[in-house]
């Protein structure tokens, strides 16, 4: 699936998007996999309560299932307006 990063999450991980092969069933499991990979992911996901997640462009919780998801995005709380 396509994984996107925005704002300081993007900066810490060092790229705006990547294709990830994963068997994670939830967002949390996907984050666990990423964190186990490299230090920069661990830095980005250190405090999950400071992050928001969208599945296929809809805001969801970290325990949301990933079945059928094509696009998962991680970012800090939004500051529009």
């Amino acid at each position: 699936m396509n994984v996107l990063y925005f704002a300081w999450v993007r900066e810490r991980i060092g790229l705006p998007r990547e294709e990830v092969d994963s068997t994670a069933e939830t967002v949390s499991e996907l984050v666990d996999e990423l964190v186990a990979r490299e230090e920069r992911y661990a830095a980005a996901f250190a405090d999950r309560s400071a992050l928001r997640v969208a599945i296929d462009q809809e805001l969801r919780d970290f325990d949301a299932p990933l079945a059928g998801a094509r696009e998962v995005a991680f970012f800090p709380p939004m500051t529009g307006g």
Partner: protein, 147 residues
Amino acid sequence: MRILVQEAPFDLGAESARFAAGHTDIGAVVTFTGVVRDSDEAPLQVMEIEHYPGMTERSLTEIAQEAQTRWSLGDVLVIHRYGALKPGEMIMMVATAARHRKDAFEAAEFLMDYLKSRAPFWKCEVTAAGTDWVPAKEEDEDALNRW
């Protein structure tokens, strides 16, 4: 309903005039415009606004539709920019038209409250001291509870 997400500046005057013109069934038009304000600490060189193309348009459309469900509105306009903006530049505007002023005011405040915390934009302030991602304010999240 009109939703615009763009890098280019918009013309508040022309947009306001166009939005308010030619209705005879509405009595009230409210506009809100967000302007890049100088930083509280160091002089702001540039405000970088990042967004999530696709989700941005989708969430702005959903927020505007929700406003039209909750209030009796003649029309709704949302314009939001992204990219590098200088102090004094206009970031975004919303406009609401209604028969009565209460609906127009409430819907505009609702749009702003949701847009602040639910539309996928992120602001980064660039000063001589470096770059800072603007943190979300707890009061902005709390503002959603009134609706």
